[in-house]
């Protein structure tokens, strides 16, 4: 194992770290809460070629794999970027996977974000990630994978995490694939969503921990910084290990997928998502608590992280379903369910 970033990887981190720090400031995040989307940020991200980062070069993409994508979206997560970047990346890769060259070319050309219904759909994709703003999304309906182009409602379903979720009809979707290959391609795309969402959550958790350290180092009570109290020190000291662990889980899963160990992806992706979800919720809730009354004031940033740690993974469903899924994959079906 060598954890040294290659020059290319270091460049990806540096690029996206400074990009999101500049373009996805807390002010931008706040201003985007009602829509769940920052159009200007998306435009600049497209100008950077970020949306196509992990699409094959033959399709005009960056040719990078999942690992580079994970490094990039971790930075997006750190800065709570209000753009459906993860959905866009995995849907673009899905189009490539099913050989939908024209559709992919269209997506790359138009530059609008695309998204993906994470669960199989009958007629309406409920709470589609980015559904309030994406004109295009993929969905699995029956055993058909379809691409839907329709007008985005422009208003999210009211939610507590500042997300652009909305219900969207799939009835006029254009078929991309059918049968087992459609199901398999969709399933892989959702696994990639799990993995990259985990990467986002790692960034979020790490940023929340930094916010916590800064706050408790600065905030004084009883004449001393509250970060000098051992109970608070120990409360925060639990996290650096798990944050690194979550990052490694994500990176190894992405590396394996990039190295054709694709049979591992379903388990790896669910594990990474589960671990990162619990971690992000735990870090944000503790750090918010250590803010005392200030934690619940909207003008402090930590509540932004707290709500997204809850919301991002909830778009897929109950995390416990991921436990069941990993169990099914590792131990086979159970008598019960």
């Amino acid at each position: 194992m060598d954890l040294t970033l290659t020059d290319d990887q270091a460049a990806v981190v540096e690029l996206f770290s400074s990009f999101f720090a500049r373009e996805s400031s807390p002010a931008v995040v706040r201003a985007s809460e009602a829509l769940g989307f920052a159009p200007m940020l998306w435009a600049r991200l497209q100008a950077l070629g970020a949306g196509a980062i992990s699409v094959g070069e033959s399709f005009g993409g960056g040719g990078a794999g999942l690992l580079d994508a994970a490094l990039a979206v971790e930075q997006a997560g750190r800065h709570l970027a209000p753009v459906p970047l993860v959905e866009h990346i995995v849907t673009s890769r899905l189009l490539e996977r099913v050989g939908a060259a024209d559709e992919l070319a269209g997506v790359l050309e138009r530059g609008d974000p695309v998204s993906l219904a994470l669960r199989p759909v009958a007629t309406t994709a409920h709470l589609l990630p980015g559904g309030a703003v994406v004109p295009t999304f993929a969905a699995l309906t029956g055993e058909r994978l379809v691409l839907v182009r329709s007008e985005a409602p422009g208003v999210p379903t009211p939610n507590g995490s500042g997300l652009a979720v909305a219900d969207r009809s799939v009835v006029d979707g254009a078929p991309l694939a059918r049968g087992a290959s459609a199901v398999g391609a969709h399933s892989t795309a959702v696994d990639e969503w799990r993995l990259l969402t985990a990467a986002m959550l790692v960034g979020l958790a790490d940023a929340a921990l930094e916010i916590g350290v800064a706050y408790v180092s600065e905030r004084h009570q009883f004449g001393v910084p509250i970060g000098s109290f051992q109970a608070i020190q120990h409360g925060l000291a639990e996290f650096p290990g798990p944050v690194s662990g979550a990052r490694l889980l994500v990176a190894r899963a992405a590396w394996r997928a990039d190295h054709d160990e694709n049979d591992r992806l379903p388990v790896d992706a669910s594990m990474a998502l589960l671990f990162a979800t619990e971690l992000a919720r735990s870090v944000t809730s503790r750090v918010l608590h250590y803010h005392g009354g200030y934690g619940v004031m909207e003008e402090y940033d930590i509540q932004l992280h707290y709500r997204r740690a809850r919301g991002w993974p909830a778009q897929l469903g109950d995390p416990a379903a991921e436990l069941d899924r990993v169990a099914r994959l590792l131990y086979g079906p159970s008598g019960g369910r």
């Binding site: 507590g160 997300l163 809730s285 005392g292 004031m297 109950d318 416990a320």
Partner: protein
Amino acid sequence: MDFARDPAILAFQEEVRAVLAEHLTTDVLERVDATGTHHDWGLHRAIAARGWLAAALPRELGGQGRGADQLAALFREVELAGAPYDGMANTMMVAFVLGHLGSAFQRAEVLAPLLAGDAIPCLGYSEPDSGSDVAAAATSAVRTGDGWTITGQKMFTSLAEEARWAFLLTRTNQDVPKHRGLTFFLVPMDDPRVEVRPVRTLSGKRTNITFYDGVHVGDEWRVGEVDDGWQVMLVALAFERGVAGGVSDITALYDAALAHLRDAVDDDGRHLLDDPHVRSRLVRVAIDKEVAELLGDRAAWAAVNGIPNQEGAEAKLFGTEAFGRAAGALLDALGPAGLLVHAALDAPAGGTLEHAYRYAPILTTAGGTSEIQKNLIAERTLGLPRRR
């Protein structure tokens, strides 16, 4: 030991529920939700009309002399009903203090309208640099002429937008240990030198920052002796003894979750209540709810019987931490629909669980953080060596 419910308390609870049923309308709840102001004058006056704002005051001071168990029952019912009750709580507490310590002037000018339900107070304790360390208050009150000039800033002055007075903790002496240089005042909120700046919080609840820019008040607005504010604070705390705030919230949350989950299905038509994870979480919450209720009852019982029990610290710590666990676990059960807030048409359980997740952090902070409760328990219940 006797676990039978006291008939007097059951009857009182019935009375409270009847008042709530009449006055806590959907309109009231929607207005609270829209404004974030946890107060309704109609409900408040109905409560005042029954004399409950003086429930905690001894009879000889003009109150109803109800014990901590009855007070706890009152707060339990309003919590369970989801009623806005900050105005009631503030009023009862300040009335309790004024009943015990107020001058004739204050009883006539302040206590009377408070008890009549015509005015409410807000509480000015916390400051930017004194939260848990409340005795570090820096807002200054300086003698000028026959009165005092007050300058400073208070945080989390909830209901300042509706209150007629702030019950304000100030520093009147810099030259003594911090607990000994504090004095309380009642400050009229309509003074032009008082500024109220609204603050929205995570749960949608409104609070305020209040600024006091050289507010002049006569000495008749001072509550308690000069430099003796800590004693006044202890009287205020005595009102809360046995009434551990927030312990019924988990009951309301569990009831709402179960009512929803009994019929809820996921996208695939599966009953959520068939999911073993969902079932386990509900049972865990059900147990925590029972324990929280029992600890709350015990705190009230102990207060009624004069048994020292750390002012409900154990009940508050357990109940509010359990609420946080419950909110997270139950919200997970809803899957993506758990994202939806009250304003969404098809929000499960009307958004109650989602709201609980955003409300939980307030519970473990307001009225003394969990850390403060643990310090207290470590020191008083366990008698551990002085902290380092």
